[in-house]
């Protein structure tokens, strides 16, 4: 028998153990049914799933476009599409993958679902804004589709002026789409910051926050600080096209490099909007499957904030060759190297967490290893690009293409896949097929490297990016890359199929299939409409694997806010068995 009193700062709380039901009757999925209930829900879990669906859709679309690009590059000259079409396809591929997939993927889809559960809240602070952010995303997407069917777009995802103000394709629809999309990102960020500050359950101090929350917190700060700058940039660009505003047009006294400054002031931090939430997932998964306390909790938590901060000071490394002053270039190069430090700190701490852990190689963990491998390559090549003299040679070549695919796809996407597999049982209550999970992870890994390793070599040898034709010398590299992309695509399709299959045929997951100590795993799978049918009370950190499970299943004995059953009040002892 253990006593039931946990002292918090001010008052004694009466707690009771709540063991999650293994086969819950009432879940968020059964609570309100029907399409309309879904479309108008303010439940963060359903909104998260809707985002997940939307992101998956765009990922499929962006992925098919990528396969088209790679197929076209099979031969040095025309293979099956026209050059103009090629330009439009790579633009849409980039814009879709960045703005519609990577930016919202982890925060808005997985984060929405998991964040309130990890802080023990019933929902995010502003549930209606959360729903609004989803519809704003949809409206932004509609604008982009209008462009697609109305002349397309061929500026590249970076919309550089002066080309973007002179091309005949429909720039305005996409810039407006991105403008609108920005608001959805801002709303998510605002919501998360407020939730993390104000809605934590009793006992969750800043030092007991899961690292996933720290990562989402850092991400939200970047979202809030950087996205408005993108908004004003694309608004200015829209006006530039609409009425020749002249701010970016030298003929009227403007400056195209100013556009690049504006654009990268958002877009470099934006790469951290994409990767930092991935870091959060890695921290969660790596401890769960090493059954060990995370190594260097504060180092990992604070390095997210350090990355967020330094990330705002390095945008100029995208303009080394754009005629920016030599002083600026040198300073930006130096600051770029600095970003590597907090990133390296993270990697080292993760590896130290593995050391002497009892490692269980489940699919999510497999993806973590893939992440560590690929993201390290991506990060190191970033440092190389950050060195001035090297970048003069490598800028705008396939080397850059390979770099950002290693970080964005090898980093963010692998982390997303890790998180998706990790939380899939929580979200759906079903287990996916572990065998197929591993097969496809291996395919993805092989396919990815086949696709992008040759691009480093090509790039270093001078193959420029965004080109439709190439000289014969590069044929073997391009062809390897194309084959790799098919393998990669196959791996991802298999993932899609076994995940969907598990919805109907999957085994019941139970509340905590991985024996994790995280708070979200102390709810039923799938969770209750209010996440927990009690207010959780937390006395240990989320990675205290040396403490017994029952000490993680505490909740307020006396329910407040009128939720919970009256009988709770009578019980005031925690019985441990």
């Amino acid at each position: 028998m253990a006593t039931a009193e946990v002292s918090s700062n001010i008052k004694k709380l009466q707690v009771k153990r709540f063991k999650p039901a293994e086969d819950p009757k009432n879940t968020y999925l059964t609570d309100e049914k029907g399409l309309w209930a879904w479309l108008t829900t303010v439940d963060h879990k359903k909104i998260g799933l809707m985002y997940l669906g939307a992101v998956a859709f765009f990922f499929l679309l962006g992925g098919l476009l990528a396969l088209a690009l790679r197929t076209e590059l099979w031969t040095p000259a025309k293979t099956f599409i026209e050059a103009d079409t090629y330009n439009q396809i790579f633009t849409l591929h980039g814009a879709i993958m960045v703005f519609f997939v990577l930016v919202p993927s982890i925060p808005a889809a997985l984060g929405n679902f998991i964040l309130p559960m990890q802080v023990g809240a019933k929902d995010v602070a502003f549930p209606r804004l959360n729903l609004a952010s989803f519809y704003i995303y949809v409206i932004g997407a509609i604008f982009t589709f209008i462009a697609l069917f109305n002349n397309g777009l061929d500026t590249g995802w970076t919309f550089y002026t002066p080309y973007s103000t002179t091309t005949t394709t429909s720039v305005i629809w996409v810039t407006l789409g991105v403008f609108i999309l920005g608001f959805s990102s801002i709303l998510t960020g605002t919501n998360f910051i407020t939730t993390i500050h104000k809605l934590r359950a009793p006992g969750i101090t800043w030092s007991k926050l899961p690292l996933n929350i720290w990562a989402l917190y850092a991400t939200s700060i970047i979202q809030v600080l950087a996205t408005p700058v993108l908004a004003i940039t694309v608004l200015l660009l829209t006006m530039e096209r609409f009425m020749g505003l002249g701010i970016f047009d030298p003929a009227n006294g403007g400056d195209p490099v100013l556009f690049q400054h504006f654009f990268w002031f958002y877009s470099h931090p934006a790469v951290y909007i994409m990767i930092v939430p991935g870091f959060g997932i890695i921290s969660e998964v790596i401890t769960t499957f090493s059954k060990k306390h995370i190594f260097g909790y504060w180092a990992i938590a604070l390095s997210s904030l350090a990355i967020a901060f330094i990330g705002f000071l390095v945008w100029g490394h995208h303009m080394f060759t754009s005629g920016q002053s030599a002083v600026a270039t040198t300073v930006f190069s130096f600051l770029t190297f600095l970003v590597g430090i907090p990133t390296g700190i993270k990697i080292l701490n993760w590896v130290a967490t593995l050391y002497k852990g009892s490692i269980e190689m489940k699919t999510p963990m497999l993806y973590v290893f893939i992440f560590l491998f690929l993201f390290s390559i991506g990060g190191f090549t970033g440092i190389m690009l950050g060195s001035l003299s090297a970048d003069i040679h490598l800028h705008d070549t396939y080397y850059v293409v390979a770099h950002f695919h290693y970080v964005m796809m090898g980093g963010t996407l692998m982390a997303l896949l890790a998180g998706l597999h990790y939380w899939w049982p929580k979200m759906t209550g079903k287990m996916y097929s572990e065998v197929w999970g591993k097969i496809s992870a291996v395919l993805v890994f092989i396919g990815f490297n086949l696709t992008f390793l040759p691009q480093f070599v090509m790039g270093a040898q001078g193959m420029p990016r965004r080109y439709y034709n190439y000289i014969d010398q590069f044929t073997p590299f391009h062809q390897t890359s194309t084959i790799g992309s098919y393998v990669l695509g196959l791996g991802l399709f298999i993932t899609l199929f076994y995940l969907l299959h598990s919805l109907w045929r999957g085994k019941k997951a139970g509340s905590n299939p991985w024996n994790s100590r995280g708070l979200e795993w102390q709810a039923t799978s799938p969770p209750d409409f209010h996440n927990f049918d009690h207010t959780p009370v937390v006395i240990h950190g989320p990675y205290d694997y040396h403490k017994p499970m029952e000490e993680f299943q505490l909740g307020l004995a006396v329910s407040h806010n009128g939720h919970g059953e009256e009988t709770d009040v009578k019980e005031s002892k925690v019985t441990t068995n």
Partner: protein
Amino acid sequence: MANHSTTHPAHLHHHFVDSDQQFDAAKMGMWVFLVNEILFFGGLFCAYIVFRAWYPDLFQEASHELNTLWGAVNTAVLIGSSLTVAMAIRSAQKDQQRGLRINLLITIALACVFMVIKAFEYSHKFELGIFPGEWYTYTGFEHPKASVFFSIYYMMTGVHALHVLVGIGLIFWIYRRSVKGEFSSEYYTPVEITGLYWHLVDLIWIFLFPLLYLIE
């Protein structure tokens, strides 16, 4: 499952523990949003700084085309409206329903005065041919890049005016709710956070006025 107890106030949303938490969250959310707004305008201020550094003489000359008197009047009007919105919050805190409604109405009226004056200023410029960007046809003063100043002027004041319009809508919505008697000393969060927003709109104008109208 949720059987709401009788002590549960009507304004309290289900996912908050108590009114304090709800209030704190709303206020914090608004502050974060204001940070957003500042960065949004920050982009424009940045462009302003860059172009002013490049064409200092243009900015001086073009600034004279703006009507300082009306600009000053508008500044006074907005500062006044910031005062009345603060008084509205004060009234709500003290449960003075009538004071709350009257102050909100005065705020709306002042905001409308601001917009009317702005509209006169714009239309006067349009008559002269001072349009943004490539539509610019004015020949009143000599400078090859003359349109750039006005492009920035229109972008800054235009985006600000949009914020004023949104503010009018918000305050009107608050007014409607206050007529229904939704606010009291117990619950006035929406009044307060709308007030915060309105102060920001005012503050931005206080920067715009000297930067655009008062260049010597």
